[in-house]
Symmetry: C2
């Protein structure tokens, strides 16, 4: 006789998972906006230099991690809402959750780490090596860098928690 | 009637897990040696400047991720070998594997990302802003940075694979 199908997760757990999916998307959208609009003009000894987030490779990596993470979050949000509505979870989704949450959490975590790492050291180097007429533009540029890296960190925390639950869900299903 | 205890994993799987644990430790030891011995003297317009890995915050984070990862790898190696010898796995170890592999894989992944991110951008900035008598020291310094970040990446891949297996092992046990 086939083992009884796993009992569906409690409603409160479902709501928590949905909330984490929404938060992940919100954090990544805000990070994308802040990062992609991050450009300043740095004046050094009278000459002006336009500085854009793309000039920092780690910020490019952070941006791609946020874009891929956001696409994944939207797809998962769609599945989670349809699951809510129908009360049925497609068997494939257990695998998608398990591997997707794990993979994307690594991607977003590394995007955040690259962002934090470069922001701290590059700002120190700029302030030490460039004779700036004013440090405000540099402060503004790297503050936005910190802000985006922090938002990716929050998104990563949501994804890491989701990853634990998707492991338990797969365990329960097996 | 209590469900039968889960059948022990095949010997080949056990050997694979042991190999991944050993590889993780080896990668992290080599990364630690390369990183902690990374210091150069940069000569710019006649004045010499001693540059040490500690001068780059992201490298400090990379070093701490490697140290913590190595301590974890050694502890897990001890458990894995004793499991091999006795054929018995302590129930606590399923949890240690599941949460440990997940947490440490995130730590090592972010250490590697911070290392890669800062190395690329800081090297470009140095070469652009500092009038160097010779670029060799800078090349050497940041090549070691890349080498350590790559070794952390390899260690992370081992830990990520281990994390998948420890999720399955916990699923099987439940």
């Amino acid at each position: 006789m086939a083992p009884p199908p796993p009992s569906p997760p409690a409603v409160s757990l479902k709501v928590l998972l949905l909330l984490l999916r929404v938060l992940t998307g919100v954090f990544l959208v805000i990070a994308l906006i802040i990062l992609s609009t991050n450009s300043v003009t740095i004046v050094s000894q009278g000459s002006a230099l336009k500085f854009h987030f793309k000039d920092v490779y780690a910020y490019r990596y952070m941006l791609s991690a946020a874009v891929i993470g956001l696409v994944y979050a939207v797809i998962q949000l769609f599945f989670t809402i349809s699951e809510f509505a129908t009360g049925v979870k497609n068997p494939f989704n257990y695998q998608l959750d398990f591997y997707g949450d794990k993979l994307i959490s690594y991607l977003v975590a590394t995007g955040s780490a690259a962002g934090f790492g470069v922001t701290k050291d590059l700002k120190d180097t700029f302030l030490a090596l460039v004779a700036l007429d004013s440090t405000d533009p540099v402060d503004k540029f790297f503050s936005k860098g910190y802000a985006s890296a922090s938002l990716l960190l929050f998104a990563f925390i949501c994804l890491a928690v989701l990853s634990v639950f998707s492991s338990f869900a797969m365990a329960k299903r097996n």
